[in-house]
Subunit: 241 residues, 2 copies
């Protein structure tokens, strides 16, 4: 049977064999939600980069520069990491260089997988429909916070386990743990993550509307996929089934 597992932090990714696995990168607050939003609003491609200097360099080469650290937009760049800023019609057909505190590292550490896609509540059902039909193992790769495990990414991983209706065999205890946490939380996700460290951080920055938006199910049907250095909207030839 196909197997599913959850890597709770990019610092644990060395534990997993990625070569025959589709990896779903999860950074609910906010990178994976923002990337999904960007793809749904016509952004041509997003290049995730780890450092501010790489982002700056790509900005000089014609990319829009999006940079976030610790929840805040970094000075000197065009935008930060709020999903709302990716709805701007002026971004249509542009290339964006994006660096964030956790999400971009998680994407980089997922390289080597059969395919790397990006998941969020915003594209939940589209993602599930794709994952259900995959002929291979799955790994849900949570971005966490600077290497530590966080609640909202674990809950979304649990939401995927919940939605997949046990068509996959659990390859460790973590899928069951995430599923149980999601079951407690699912009727009121916002309350459930109220005590999360990152939620408190974003609330303090006045970003409650970002949080509310990132917890919305099925706003979009796109699935962002990482190909080479760029994330684009998944098209028919990218589909593995």
């Amino acid at each position: 049977m196909k197997k599913i597992d959850i890597c709770l932090s990019p610092d644990l990714i060395h534990q997993y064999d990625l070569a025959s696995t589709v990896v779903v990168v999860i950074d609910i607050l906010r990178a994976s939600s923002s990337i999904t939003t960007a793809m749904a609003h016509g952004v041509k491609a997003i290049r995730p980069v780890e450092s501010l200097s790489e982002c700056r360099e790509l900005k000089l080469k014609g990319h829009i520069g999006a940079a976030e650290r610790g929840g805040k937009k970094v000075g000197g760049f065009d935008m930060g990491n709020s999903p709302f800023s990716f709805m701007n019609p002026e971004l249509e057909d542009t290339k964006i260089a994006l660096t964030t505190t956790n999400g971009t590292i998680t994407l980089k550490k997922s390289k080597g997988a059969l395919q790397v896609i990006i998941g969020s509540f915003l594209n939940y059902s589209a993602l599930l429909a794709y994952l259900e039909r995959l002929p291979c193992d799955l790994l849900l790769h949570c971005a966490g916070w600077k290497g530590t495990v966080n609640l909202e990414d674990t809950l979304f991983a649990g939401a995927i386990i919940y939605g997949l209706k046990q068509m996959f065999e659990y390859n460790s205890d973590v899928p069951l743990m995430a599923l149980n946490l999601y079951k407690i939380a699912k009727n009121d996700l916002k309350s459930a993550i109220q005590d999360s460290s990152h939620v408190a951080r974003l609330m303090n920055l006045g970003l409650e509307k970002d949080i509310d938006f990132c917890l919305k199910f099925d706003e979009y049907k796109v699935i962002p996929v990482l190909k080479g250095n760029y994330i684009t909207k998944m098209k028919l030839p990218d589909m593995l089934f």
Copy 2:
């Protein structure tokens, strides 16, 4: 306020500042349960070692050799890692060299902490009484399984959070996650861990009575403490309050 956190795998321990922290090492199935049992039954000291060759060398130097890999006793040693084997009256006042799949690595990686103690359901209330009075931060260090996160160690960490009555501030999302998982599981721990990968592994080896024993609360009042290379029973001068 004093802080509490949970490290879900020894592969994440680099994330934590140990110097001013008391670390509780947790390997419910079975190292921390067996070490607690040994201390309660008069074993003088246990030396945790990582490799079979170190264990063999110490056996030649007069230690009892206890070695387990993948749930099984390793050939050529005096004993494995079952708590029942540590109840043997012949072990009274002996020194044991112990190597296990996960627990001994977790102990080694905890070095550098203000104090390293060993926790299990078997000494739950004694442990809580000690922890409640500590004047410093706490880290619960789960052994997991070969670097991945496991259910039973996370549940015991949750049991500690539950028992401590929120006298500590949570330093990440993990204490809340473990607490919630424990609350679901607490009325029937055995059923809750029935689907755990390691439980299945031990069941297949015919070790159900080990599992039953390792889930018993408060069999003993001892707290094992790591001092230098040896684990001994905590005595008054070892107490940090």
